[in-house]
């Protein structure tokens, strides 16, 4: 019952859609099939809520008034159509046999209510003589139920096809002289006569069970029975009886459907690649699919009827697990329910493995049943661990490399300094007495040593970018750029350069490194100038739009800014745009442009340390642009 009502609430649109498709314009409905279906569902829900037949009766009256062209047959056909749509959903969605049966029975009741309401209103009566509308004869084709109409004396006036079939009356045989009495076993008729008809007179309807008698074979047929009184819409006087029977044969259809559901369940169970294990209310394994056999290594028979803690999830490995299972079984609740949880499971050969388990609880014949969906994650786990180990190793070796670069360059400085110092001393003390050629040798040695000194210093600087502790603070880029420009004042004046600085943001960064970044880029821009034009360096910045930006409140956690440093210098061939960031990589010989080829490598390292990116664009003879994207607040 609850399942049915739930279905009406949650699947209303689908049911109405299916209804519309099934009916597909064959009914002359003024309001459209979807609306018609909605109305029927509303009426059912209203009847349930008020526990009354009056909404159905009101609906029927309204229908007779509004949709007067609609025959009873057509109304019955549409009710049948609704029934099919709803049954389809019920069979698909209600897995528990008991609940399904209850829902289907409830559906029957509601539809009967609608049918009889319509029948009583739309059938036209003519005074005392009972005359059923001609369309009623066609109801037979629309229903699988026994539908019979009789006058108040119990003489049968109409019987549909299904009814004839049920009791073995060929279509050719006239039913008119037959009395209702002849359809039932004596005992059953007694009950109908004494109990049912009395109730019908009193309340207008009766429900129960009775036993029909087959006219040909004499076979007795158990049926559920509903008897309604038929009233004249004009006089409200009782004019006849409507009798509905549904044979037990219908439950065979139901069983067929259930068997189908069961078979489908079985197929899913067996074809699942992941183990599925069910535990009954005694806490014992009641289902163990093929995948479970493969993963755990236990044949199904050896596991069934055993507690899972004994064979699958040993309590030693997962303390309190059995307790928790017990709790779920008793209370149907627990922290693990419906969530994926990692547990240690054990195979038949004693090997333990990590498994992911999702649990769901359900009812089977009134008892709680736990279903475990298990996934062997040992391979994932292994891969994960390998990944972690690999990245840890990578990080360690990176750190080591940086440390090495620092130590090496630091220790290399020492002997180099000596070479420089004592070379200098030698030049001073005996420079005068040396031959011109020897002097030049000494000077070349000194120059080479100086250059190495610069190289090592730069290397040291580069390794310090990452070995240094992260100390991010508020940095006003406008101030930083201003300081850098002022530091380079002499150079700017010498070259006659113009520096244009736009509006700069404030970001969280390492102040010293950001300054270094701008310094290197500015020095580069001034260094690689074209002789024939005055250098122009433009520095600008803007915030990047965040895609998920919320209106009215800017969350700057993901906010980024883009900084451009553009010059009109010699530029470079685009094919070198990656190479220029590599340490010691240079595009020009030293005699043309001084430098070690470390400046941009440092820039990239600084930017990357701030979780940003730096790329270069250039055109030979036109200029270069460095584009930096930095998070406003690096993580």
């Amino acid at each position: 019952m609850d399942n049915l009502l739930e279905l009406f609430r949650t699947r209303r649109a689908e049911i109405c859609d299916a209804f519309s498709r099934r009916i597909s314009g064959s009914l002359p409905l003024k309001q459209g099939p979807g609306r018609f279906c909605e109305d029927m569902i509303d009426v059912i829900l209203a009847c349930h809520e008020r526990d009354s037949r009056s909404p159905a009766q009101a609906w029927a009256r309204k229908l007779a008034h509004k949709e007067s062209e609609l025959s009873l047959e057509q109304i019955f056909a549409s009710l049948k159509c609704l029934e099919r749509s709803v049954r389809f959903h019920l069979l698909r969605e209600v897995v528990q046999k008991k609940s399904l049966l209850a829902a289907l029975a409830a559906l029957d009741d509601f539809l009967d209510l609608l049918r009889t309401s319509c029948a009583s209103v739309i059938s036209k009566f003519d005074g005392s003589a009972v005359r059923f509308p001609i369309e009623l004869g066609a109801i037979g084709t629309a229903s699988d139920d026994f539908i019979g109409l009789a006058d108040l004396q119990g003489t049968i006036l109409y019987l549909n096809e299904a009814g004839r079939k049920m009791v073995g009356l060929p279509l050719s045989e006239n039913i008119e002289p037959k009395s209702l009495h002849s359809f039932y076993t004596d005992k059953s008729w007694q009950e109908i006569h004494d109990v049912a008809l009395a109730a019908v007179r009193e309340h207008g309807n009766w429900e129960g069970h009775s036993r029909l008698k087959h006219f040909q074979t004499g076979e007795e047929i158990d049926v559920s029975t509903k008897v309604f009184v038929v009233k004249s819409p004009q006089t409200q006087l009782h004019t006849g009886l409507a009798v509905f029977h549904r044979s037990g044969g219908d439950s065979k259809v139901l069983e067929g459907a259930l068997a189908e559901v069961e078979a489908r369940k079985k197929t899913i169970l067996e074809s699942s690649l992941d183990p599925i294990i069910t535990i009954d209310h005694n806490g014992l394994v009641s289902e163990f699919n093929r995948a479970a056999e493969l993963v755990f290594g236990h044949p199904r028979e050896t596991v069934l009827g055993k507690p899972p803690s004994e064979v699958l999830f040993p309590p030693a490995k997962i303390a309190g697990y059995q307790n928790r299972i017990d709790r779920y079984l008793e209370a149907g609740e627990g922290s693990m329910l419906g969530k994926r949880t990692e547990v240690t499971a054990i195979r038949a050969n004693g090997e333990s493995f990590p498994a992911e388990v999702a649990m769901s609880i359900s009812q089977q014949s009134g008892s709680p049943v736990l279903t475990f969906f298990v996934r062997d994650i040992s391979l994932q786990k292994q891969a994960e661990e390998e990944q972690i180990r690999y990245s840890a190793e990578l990080e360690r070796s990176n750190k080591e490399l940086e440390r090495f670069a620092y130590v090496a360059s630091h220790d290399l400085q020492e002997p180099l300094r000596k070479i420089l110092t004592f070379g200098d001393r030698l030049e001073i003390s005996c420079g005068e007495s040396l031959e011109e050629r020897d002097k030049e040798c000494l000077s070349r040695m000194q120059n080479a040593a100086k250059r190495m000194h610069v190289l090592i210093n730069d290397l040291l600087l580069l390794s310090r970018v990452t070995t240094k502790e992260k100390m991010f603070e508020r940095v006003d880029l406008a101030k930083v750029v201003k300081e850098v420009v002022s530091d380079l004042e002499v150079k700017i004046e010498q070259t006659g350069a113009r520096v244009e600085v736009g509006k700069m943001p404030i970001i969280m960064a390492d102040a010293v490194q950001i300054r270094q970044l701008f310094q290197n880029l500015m020095v580069n821009a001034l260094k690689f100038r074209r002789e024939e034009v005055l250098p122009v360096v433009k520095i600008s910045a803007r915030f990047l739009k965040i895609p998920t930006q919320r209106v009215g409140r800017r969350s700057n956690a993901d906010e980024k800014c883009r900084i451009l440093v553009e010059d009109n210098g010699i530029g470079f061939d685009e094919k070198y745009k990656e190479r220029i960031f590599t340490i010691f990589q240079r595009l020009h010989t030293r005699d043309v442009y001084e430098g070690t080829g470390v400046g941009l490598a440092i820039c990239r390292k600084i930017v990357e340390r701030h979780n940003g990116t730096i790329v270069a664009h250039g055109e030979l003879g036109k200029g270069a642009t460095f584009e930096i994207v930095l998070p406003v607040i690096p993580k």
Partner: protein, 150 residues
């Protein structure tokens, strides 16, 4: 004896014999006759300063007027010496000039935090050494008043 000719005691703690020799050479070549004491590590320096071990006799180990301290040394390095001086060296009242190969910001900040008088990165050329010694002499022994001078 006038101040210019006065002989001061300079203790240089440095494990690099080349640099020690260099300083001595430059001083003598510049005509200075200060009393130079070279100590190879931080342990020797702290013993000297606190008059321990071999340095208990003030005649053999005269009180320093100025200490030149290297940072990277075996046994006890310069940073540790500075820490000890900051904790217990209040009464020693001796100016410390750090003379090291390091030029790192962290080292510089650390040393001044420890209360050194000056931080100098060792020069790369001989000429620069000569200039350094000249300036040190002018500043510490002529321009300013040292606490050790009566």
């Amino acid at each position: 004896m006038s101040d210019t000719e006065k002989c001061f005691t300079i203790v240089m703690a440095d494990d690099d014999p080349d640099d020690c020799q260099l300083l001595a050479d430059v001083m003598s070549e510049s005509g200075m006759s200060h009393n130079l004491r070279f100590l190879p590590d931080g342990e020797e320096l702290t013993d000297y300063l606190w008059m321990r071990g071999r340095y208990t006799d003030e005649k053999l180990a005269p009180r320093p007027d100025l200490v030149l301290l290297d940072l990277n040394m075996p046994k006890l390095d310069g940073r540790e010496v500075l820490r000890q001086l900051k904790d217990d060296g209040f009464e020693l009242r001796v100016p410390i000039v750090v003379l090291t190969t390091s030029s790192s910001k962290d080292d510089i900040s650390f040393c001044y935090d420890m209360g050194v008088s000056a931080f100098i990165t060792k020069p790369v050329t001989f000429r620069a050494w000569a200039e350094l010694v000249k300036v040190l002499n002018e500043y510490w022994f002529k321009l300013i008043k040292l606490p050790s001078v009566d």
